[in-house]
């Protein structure tokens, strides 16, 4: 167990260290002090609402990363989370603003609508994949772009948009549909749906490790032929996992919409989908790993504002995120090859010693 833990922690730690060193070099070359930059970012956590923002963002990133991880288990690269969460958020905001229900029921309806809309946006790529053999990456890239167009169209003022101040939004969700948060006064408010992310991570861990569905999913990903021989319907698994991934992706926008904005606005955040892919890789599809990866991502994203105060362009945090994704996958490959080589050496030695006494006896 200890060796397993060490080998699974080695790659992410190596990657984060490598990315940090890379960024430090970039900072030194451009004439800044990496120590000051890191100090400023850590100091920032105690300022204003930054700590609460980090917690809230962590939850959002976790949902996005879980959506990506479900696909990764099947060797499906759901690049379409970006579009799925946008469509999910938009449709849920429109429906949520149009109906009035008792509080808890209202939240549930909105969440279910969001999940269904996200899954619906993943349906076409899933169908194209199983019926026409179209790779999901290319179809979901196209669906992402179309989602932006759909959102721009539906939020037009002659469709569902209304003008609030200088911003165009959907009809606000009535208070029965707003999920209360934990108010920490001047520190900000933790979204109530942070717990949704925690629950989702727990359910994900349970399903993957304790159910037949999780087993079939992982088996299909590890060896499609073996899974097919074991009676797993590969096409059904592709459709189901893409739809579930899309459904989880549909929830990504919910903490912000039900906890803070109460509507889909023109400046709805983008980029969570691609961040989710990076975090799922960093956390190696493990719920705890994903939680830590999300925390790191949220810290980089929310604390980077402090960098401008010490004269460092805050975009170094984005470079750091990209460098982490790239170095973590490289690190996994290196660790995998090292382990393979060590294994071969061990087997070689074991068989070597096993043969040697026998040869002596023969003499």
């Amino acid at each position: 167990m200890n060796a397993r833990l060490r080998s699974s922690l080695l790659a992410p730690v190596l990657a984060v260290v490598f990315a940090a060193v890379l960024c430090a070099i970039v900072l030194i070359v451009s004439g800044a002090n990496p120590g000051t930059a890191l100090g400023a970012m850590i100091g920032q956590v105690r300022e204003g609402q930054v700590a609460v923002d980090i917690v809230n963002s962590t939850a959002i990133y976790m949902l996005a990363a879980l959506a990506a991880a479900i696909g990764f288990h099947m060797n499906l690269l759901n690049i379409g989370i970006e579009g799925q969460y946008r469509v999910g958020a938009l449709v849920a905001a429109i429906v949520g603003g149009a109906i009035v229900l008792p509080p808890v029921l209202h939240w549930l309806v909105i969440l279910i609508v969001a999940a269904i809309a996200g899954a619906a946006w993943a349906t076409l790529p899933a169908i194209l994949k199983v019926t026409r053999g179209v790779h999901e990456v290319i179809s979901t890239i196209m669906m992402n772009a179309i989602a932006f167009g759909l959102a721009a169209f539906l939020i037009r003022r002659d469709q569902f948009g209304i003008l609030v101040g200088n911003n165009v939004t959907t009809e606000p969700i009535p208070s029965s549909g707003q999920v209360p948060g934990i108010d920490l006064g001047s520190k900000g408010t933790i979204f109530g749906l942070v717990f949704l992310a925690v629950i989702a991570a727990a359910v994900y861990g349970m399903v993957m490790n304790r159910t037949r569905f999780g087993f079939e999913l992982k088996a299909s990903g590890l060896s499609p032929t073996a899974a097919a021989a074991g009676g797993v319907n590969a096409k059904k698994m592709i459709v189901v996992s893409l739809l579930v991934s899309g459904a989880v992706a549909g929830l990504v926008g919910m903490p912000e919409i039900l906890g803070r904005d109460h509507a889909y606005t023109l400046n709805f955040a983008s980029g969570y989908g691609f961040a989710g892919i990076g975090i799922a890789l960093l956390g190696r599809n493990h719920p705890v790993g994903i939680a830590f990866g999300s925390l790191l991502w949220a810290f980089l994203e929310k604390a980077k504002g402090a960098l401008d105060n010490v004269g460092v362009p805050k975009e170094i945090a984005t470079i750091m995120q990209g460098a982490i994704v790239l170095s973590v996958v490289v690190a996994y490959e290196i660790v995998k090859r090292m382990e393979l080589a060590a294994e071969q050496r061990r087997v070689g030695q074991a068989t070597g010693t096993a043969i040697a006494p026998a040869e002596e006896a023969a003499k």
Binding site: V26, S30, N75, L77, I79, L124, L128, R132, G133, V134, H135, V137, I138, S139, I141, M142, M143, A145, I146, F148, G149, L150, A152, F153, R156, F274, I277, G278, L281, P313, E315, I316, A317, T318, I319, M320, Q321, G322, A323, V325, L326, V329, V330, E333, I334
Partner: protein, 424 residues
């Protein structure tokens, strides 16, 4: 794990029927296609009374906006022909826009192209190191490069452009290429265009857009299309490079250095994406680097490559079509855009006739239903939502993939990991 997994038609036990002979050479298909598209547009323009569809201005916008797409598509061909999927084109293009603005600001437009190319090639190098040397999943590496490209350019422009332009998101304007026109010819075409005669004026308008205020960028791009075709399909090096994309293990057994060819291909792919970035910077007015300028054109380039069946001529056609959709948005009224629906009806009608001639009853029926559906939409609406126009390329790509996925032929080992000496 190629972009389009073509299921084998027959099992190993049965003989596969010999592929039906292609009746026409590629260039003939290209010319026929161009004639068909121009014909459909000219007919639409005549029947709906929307001259903007085939005006000189529309054609000029098509060229300006199609060039980055074309160059990215060529980059995609280089990478994928060697078996490397390159989703990172977008990031490499972003690097190219920054490099072009930097080089252009200091040393003029020609150096803008060169520096853009170098920056894009650096992105390609990172992709090559990750995927070829370390065997990382191509798509994951591409996503990382898109993140990195955006981050690096934002960082560098805050550091270097902000003192020059007082704006961390923009570069100062750079000098543009001197354009040239075939004046006499263009004037003659202009007269024809103004005469508003059926078909002739439309063709004249489109041609005039091609010969007035021509930027050297267009010449560079056309030369690169020809060069890509020649190098990849008519040299020994190109044959080896493509063999790495079809069957790297077989290539290895014949003594081809697969890693070397993949490295060259991916770096060339990045360089082309970088030139695409330079074309974007030089084609915008004023010519500046702007954050978010690429607007996912790298992905549209990839779509153009798929539309073009992984071949340069087809990619040129795809880039032209997608550039047209983008360019029309700038030069035409919503009514003119709406008239495009009419074009779609005519195109679907032609498809019905074609499929009936080939005795493909089901496809013909589907196309007929599509034609009627689009016509109903045309009849009952007055304008097309502008919001969807930029996304026509994406919708066309999905339709092409849905209808013609079995006829597309990506390289056989596209995206398949390869390690030297580990073939079976």
């Amino acid at each position: 794990m190629s972009m389009v997994d073509v299921q084998p038609a027959a099992s190993g036990m049965t003989m596969t029927p010999p592929p039906s002979q292609r009746k026409l050479p590629g260039w003939a298909v290209f010319i026929l296609g161009t004639v068909a598209v121009v014909g459909v547009l000219a007919m639409t323009s005549y029947l709906t009374g929307q001259p903007a569809l085939t005006s000189t201005l529309t054609m000029q916008n098509t060229v300006t906006l199609g060039l980055p797409i074309l160059l990215c598509g060529l980059g995609g061909i280089w990478a994928e022909r060697s078996g490397m999927i390159n989703i990172g084109l977008e990031g490499m293009m972003i690097l190219g826009t920054w490099g072009a603005a930097f080089g252009g600001y200091h040393w003029g437009p020609w150096m803008a192209v060169v520096t853009g190319m170098v920056f894009g090639a650096l992105g390609g190098l990172v992709h090559a190191v990750a995927t070829v040397t370390f065997g990382v999943n191509h798509i994951v590496s591409g996503v990382a490069i898109n993140l990195l490209g955006a981050g690096v350019t934002k960082y560098l422009s805050t550091l270097i452009f902000q003192p020059l332009s007082d704006n961390p998101r923009d570069s100062p304007p750079i000098q543009q290429f001197d354009t040239f026109s075939a004046t006499g010819f263009a004037d003659w075409l202009g007269e024809l265009e103004r005469a508003q005669r059926v078909i002739i004026s439309d063709v004249a308008g489109l041609l005039r857009g091609l010969v007035t205020r021509v930027s050297p960028m267009l010449i560079i791009a056309i030369l690169l299309v020809i060069a890509t075709y020649f190098v990849l399909w008519h040299t020994r090096f190109g044959l080896r490079l493509r063999s790495c994309g079809e069957n790297p293990v077989a290539a290895e057994s014949l003594g081809v250095n697969v890693y070397f060819h993949k490295y060259v291909a991916v770096i060339a792919s990045g360089a082309l994406a970088g030139i695409a970035g330079a074309a974007l910077v030089l084609g915008s007015s004023p010519s500046i680097y702007q954050e978010g300028q690429t607007a996912n054109r790298g992905f549209i380039g990839l779509a153009a490559m798929i539309f073009g069946n992984w071949r340069p001529g087809g990619t040129l056609a795809g880039a032209g079509l997608f550039g047209y959709a983008d360019g029309l948005r700038l030069s035409a009224t919503p009514e003119a855009v709406h008239a495009l629906l009419y074009s779609a009806v005519i195109a679907a009608g032609l498809l019905v006739i074609w499929q009936l001639a080939n005795r493909k009853w089901i496809t013909a029926m589907l196309a007929a239903i599509g034609a009627v559906g689009v016509y109903v939409l045309y009849f009952f609406t007055d304008e097309l939502p502008q919001e969807f126009l930029p996304y026509t390329p994406h919708i066309i790509t999905l339709v092409v993939l849905a209808l013609a996925a079995q006829r597309l032929r990506p390289p056989a080992a596209d995206g398949v990991p390869y390690r030297r000496g580990e073939g079976d």
